[in-house]
């Protein structure tokens, strides 16, 4: 290498980086600017997200404070109503009992509350954005790269600005989880609507449907299987992210996992890990069975 460099001009051999001073200055300017922004608008932002805090606290309180038997009955009821499948329902009851027996009931309730809120918020944000994307190629070309960044940026990196703005706690954790979990919701809503059969859309137009009637009667119902897959993905990603979010103060199973990593508690780590797996499977199977049930019209085919 050295020999090649001796004949090449220095500029082509060693990458001409911007000098350290300039980079330091740019970094300092951006950091100071951001800190200044947080200092001036921090209170306003806190006020805006306050309802999230209330909602989260309320749900967590409800999950944790209720007698376990009540929570279990409601959960089994919801799972059965959603899936209409006895095996999934029994599996749910057994996993929840196992979780309770190893003493993780309360932590599981905290995580459940967190995942529920994150999923609801992701759906509320994701579906409208997905619809907008499906309606306009320009919106799609803007939103798509943003989603790419959201999905590939290491989650630890965007924890930094989130913590700078919101500090440590549940709400910043929730925002971090939503940032991580909302892209599949948006993408699959967009995809589902775009995949709707053109002929059916043309028929809707021919009968004089307005844009809203078309969305409500044709696009959303026909995109529903894809949207359900998006909800399923969002739940799975929320569950994965609550563990990482425990680094910025989210409680529950994730916090236990974090402690287990720090202290090399092999058994504690795996017990909490399996509890997360249990919840994940319950959510996954129930939402998939529910999605299939919504599609009952496509199952019976004329022979």
């Amino acid at each position: 290498m050295a020999s090649i460099c001796s004949v090449l001009p220095a500029l082509l051999c060693k990458f001409p980086a911007i000098d350290d001073g300039t980079i330091r200055l740019a970094r300092k300017t951006i950091d100071d600017g951001f800190k200044g922004f947080v200092r001036s608008y921090g209170d306003a932002i806190d006020t805006v997200v306050q309802p999230l805090q209330w909602f989260l606290n309320y749900l967590e309180g409800a999950f944790v404070a209720s007698p376990w038997i009540l929570v279990l009955i409601v959960m089994v009821g919801v799972v059965y109503y959603g899936s209409r499948n006895v095996n999934i329902t029994i599996g749910t009851a057994l996993s929840m009992i196992a979780i309770g027996l190893v003493g993780l009931w309360n932590d599981t309730m905290i995580t459940l509350a967190m995942v529920t809120v994150c999923t609801l918020i992701s759906i509320l944000i994701g579906i409208p954005i997905g619809i907008l994307m499906a309606r306009s190629d320009r919106v799609q070309s803007v939103v798509n790269p943003v989603l790419d960044v959201m999905q590939t940026m290491p989650s630890f990196v965007y924890l930094i600005p989130v913590v700078m703005i919101f500090g440590i706690g549940k709400v910043p954790g929730l925002i971090a989880v939503v940032i991580y979990a909302v892209p599949p919701m948006i993408r699959l809503t967009n995809l589902g609507i775009r995949l709707v059969d053109q002929e059916v859309l043309e028929a809707a137009d021919a009968f004089g449907s307005s844009a809203w009637q078309k969305l409500k009667n044709v696009q959303m119902p026909l995109a529903l299987p894809t949207i359900m897959a998006g909800i399923n993905q969002t739940i799975m990603m929320s569950l994965a992210m609550v563990v990482v979010a425990s680094m910025i103060g989210v409680g529950g199973l994730g916090k236990n996992v974090l402690q287990a990593i720090a202290n090399q508690f092999f058994t504690v780590g795996f017990l909490n890990g399996f509890a997360l797996v249990g919840i994940a499977i319950i959510f996954d199977r129930t939402s998939q069975a529910f999605g299939r049930r919504l599609q009952k019209h496509s199952e019976v085919i004329h022979g």
Binding site: D197, E199, V200, E202, A203, D205, A206, F207, G208, S209, S210, Q213, N217, V218, P221, L222, L224, H297, S298, V300, I301, H302
Partner: protein, 348 residues
């Protein structure tokens, strides 16, 4: 509710980002192939002038790529024209505002599609009420009307089935019921029967003809099948490469095809079911002989009646029973089997 005629005037459609720029060139004679090669635009329709009869069935016939589906989509403006007018009741559909267009589509038109285009997540009944639901008609009222039409197209008992539980023919009955429930003046049928088996197709043609006898809607029917066109059409227009090659009644087209293209088409037609007795009768000389035949009777029926009655000669009578012409069995048979050539017809 009187139906109105649809007038298509000087209609041009050029597909592509700058279609409007080439209309003049096409009017000056730029061809379809050249437009595509040199300018990357596709000539969909050129200089279409058709007057579609009020309360009658207008059939637009052509092979794939002839522009027939493009043409029918101009009537409810699912496709915007590059130039020209589509007049209904004196109003140019092409100049309507979005709101007017939506109202026009809701109340004046109904469409049946080649691939049915039913909503897969809705039952037969819910599919049928779709047009009324869009119009904002109440649920009870629209379901009552929808049930009536479901019965008329022969689907009673299937109200709660989903489309993919039904055969193709039955699905298209749903498509027809959905369009009829709309109670619109104009019924647009885009190759509505092309995806059906031959027997079911004839069956559905009968359904349409029976309904049309009492409904008297302005029907625009698109097909690539000449037999279907001749059976259904009060008037037929034949499209080729986006241009009308010939229009007229079925008889006119069969008896005097405008060019070789159409001649090739009509060669295979069952002429006995198209040509009427008055078309081939000779002037009456002396007293009417043989059995009377009603005006408008097709040759096949006439031949059947005459052989049944064992007579060789017959005379044609008008609505009032007055004899207006004479003909005999050999004339009928020869008209049925030998294509009257272009020239013969001109000479006649």
């Amino acid at each position: 509710m009187a139906s109105h005629a649809i007038e298509v005037k000087n209609l041009y459609k050029i597909f592509g980002p700058r279609g409007g720029d080439y209309v003049d060139a096409v009017k000056r004679g730029l061809g379809k192939a050249e437009l595509n090669e040199k300018h990357g635009h596709v000539l969909g329709l050129q200089d279409i002038n058709i007057s579609m009869p009020a309360g009658g069935v207008m059939v637009v016939m052509g092979l794939s790529g002839s522009g027939k589906s493009t043409l029918i989509r101009h009537i409810n403006r699912l496709i915007d024209p590059t130039a020209g007018e589509v007049l209904y009741d004196g109003v140019d559909v092409c100049k309507m505002s979005d709101n007017d267009l939506r109202e026009f589509r809701r109340h004046k038109t109904a469409m049946v599609f080649q691939k049915f285009a039913l909503l897969p997540h809705r039952t037969v009944l819910d599919n049928t009420v779709y047009g009324l639901e869009i119009q904002g008609v109440g649920k009870a009222e629209s379901e009552k009307r929808a049930r009536g039409w479901i019965d008329r197209v022969g689907l009673q008992g299937f109200e709660n089935h989903y489309p993919n539980q039904l055969s193709g023919g039955m699905q298209q009955r749903v498509g027809l019921a959905r369009a009829l429930t709309n109670d619109a003046d104009i019924l647009l049928m885009d190759e509505a029967y092309s995806a059906l088996d031959p027997l079911i197709r004839v069956d559905m043609q009968t359904v349409l003809l029976d309904l049309q006898k009492e409904l008297k809607k302005t029907v625009v029917f698109i097909t690539h099948d000449l037999d279907e066109a001749l059976r259904l059409g009060d008037k037929i227009a034949i499209l080729r490469d986006g241009r009308v090659v010939q229009q007229g009644t079925g008889q006119q087209i069969v008896l005097s095809p405008a060019d070789d293209y159409i001649t090739a088409f009509v060669k295979e037609v069952n002429r006995g079911r198209v040509i009427n007795v008055e078309t081939i009768m000779r002037p009456l000389s002396g007293n009417p002989e043989g059995m009377p035949l009603a005006m408008g009777m097709v040759l096949e029926s006439a031949a059947r009646a005459m052989t049944g009655a064992h007579v060789n000669a017959a005379h044609v009578v008008d609505e009032n029973g007055r004899p207006i012409g004479a003909l005999d069995l050999p004339t009928i048979i020869s008209a049925m089997v030998t294509p009257t050539s272009h020239e013969d017809k001109r000479a006649a």
